[in-house]
Subunit: 240 residues, 2 copies
Amino acid sequence: MKTIEMEDEPTEVDRPSGPEKRGRKASKEVRRQQLIEATIDSLAKRGYSETTMADVADGAKLSRGIVNFHFESKEKLLVATLQYMYDEYSAHWRNAYEKAGDNTADQLKALVAADFDRAICNKRKLAAWCAFWGEAKSRPTYQALSGARDTAYQNLLSDLCSRLKTEAGYDFEPQALALALSALLEGLWLRLMMGLEDVSRETALQAANAFLLTAFPKHYTSEKNGLQRLDTREAPLLMK
Amino acid sequence: MKTIEMEDEPTEVDRPSGPEKRGRKASKEVRRQQLIEATIDSLAKRGYSETTMADVADGAKLSRGIVNFHFESKEKLLVATLQYMYDEYSAHWRNAYEKAGDNTADQLKALVAADFDRAICNKRKLAAWCAFWGEAKSRPTYQALSGARDTAYQNLLSDLCSRLKTEAGYDFEPQALALALSALLEGLWLRLMMGLEDVSRETALQAANAFLLTAFPKHYTSEKNGLQRLDTREAPLLMK
DNA sequence: CAAAATTTGCTGAACATTCATTCAATATAG
DNA sequence: CTATATTGAATGAATGTTCAGCAAATTTTG
């Protein structure tokens, strides 16, 4: 049973990347960021139930009492960490969507691809997400933030599915298909996180693309390197 | 923000359903079962990190030291609980598969429907599953059992996808589509567990069926009450 | 059949450990 | 010098584990 290597991005805060102060004293914000990164490390390495204040402090190479100074309590540190990951994920898919241009099929393809981007989708982050999922049901505070794919995301997916439907005349239910798609993405994350089977970022993206291909056969075609968009006659090119 | 009610099946072991002894003394196996059910309750109610031996014992209405007597340690109790859920899930889908008859499309439909059966898919069980998922990465012991949809399940899905492909000449990659399907099912479970959005067992099943419908348009058609199988000419009816 | 002996299941107080939190003392920056 | 950041030992609460003893069931003995 071989384990698939999923490249980890190194913690970015550790190395002094600019004029920020490291070592003896640093600003409130820099320390908070540093502690949040250490928290993600600990969640990924030891899981939620075994993540301790001491481990976080050690990971940040600071003293034991430091977390209570910057965040007041363990609970608040964890909420801040979850909020951080939530914000990062939101910014990431919104950015991918912005940059995708005006074509609906391209936009959907970009959203799906964004989910498997190294910056978001790596062992460390996925493990941290999953750690929170495991606690979300019993903690109201986590519940709202644990579903990274929130209402805005879900609405956008529904909208894109609707548009593709009217463009090419599919006969699916846009709401149901959008739900299926986002559940699929989350499910693939879960597989990646578990890391037992032969599922890598690449095969996961292939599976997601296989879905797009079967659901929107008039919009995409299969190519060597993933998905290719097909031109739809119904969309006149107004821009040029 | 309204929460969707997902009906809970009551704990089955509590009521004396047969000649088993309750009250003062009971056999080893009955007690173990009872404690496992109490563990699932606790996991669902409080999450993994706040499930304590005391809570499990209280839930089973037994004394504090009881768990260490029947299982030796908390760790072993949790492994036994996970194993129990794994076995139950396995038996459930295998049974659904057996009863589905000889038609490949029916078999696939039955497997998908089985995932949203009350017996398997209820708030209590899903919450317990998710609690384990959150710890799986950092605990080798959990890893093998946490993926309820195991290799055997995955292979069966791949096989069914292959057959449908040859029956009707789709052009997807069976492996990738099977991975997408099982990830979709797991992702829907995750949504159901979170219970924030308007996702009920019924809408989840609809989303899964929407997937089947788009992926295998020559095998299924949409009906009021879910999915209907279409006859494929390529499958001669040898039986009658 | 009845009493005694033994096995088996169970209890709950005591113990040890882990861990979040507090805070007085200390070091650094401005 | 003053305000701010940091340290690390002390504290206390929570909790998993142990175990001596008790009670019900079962077997043995008279």
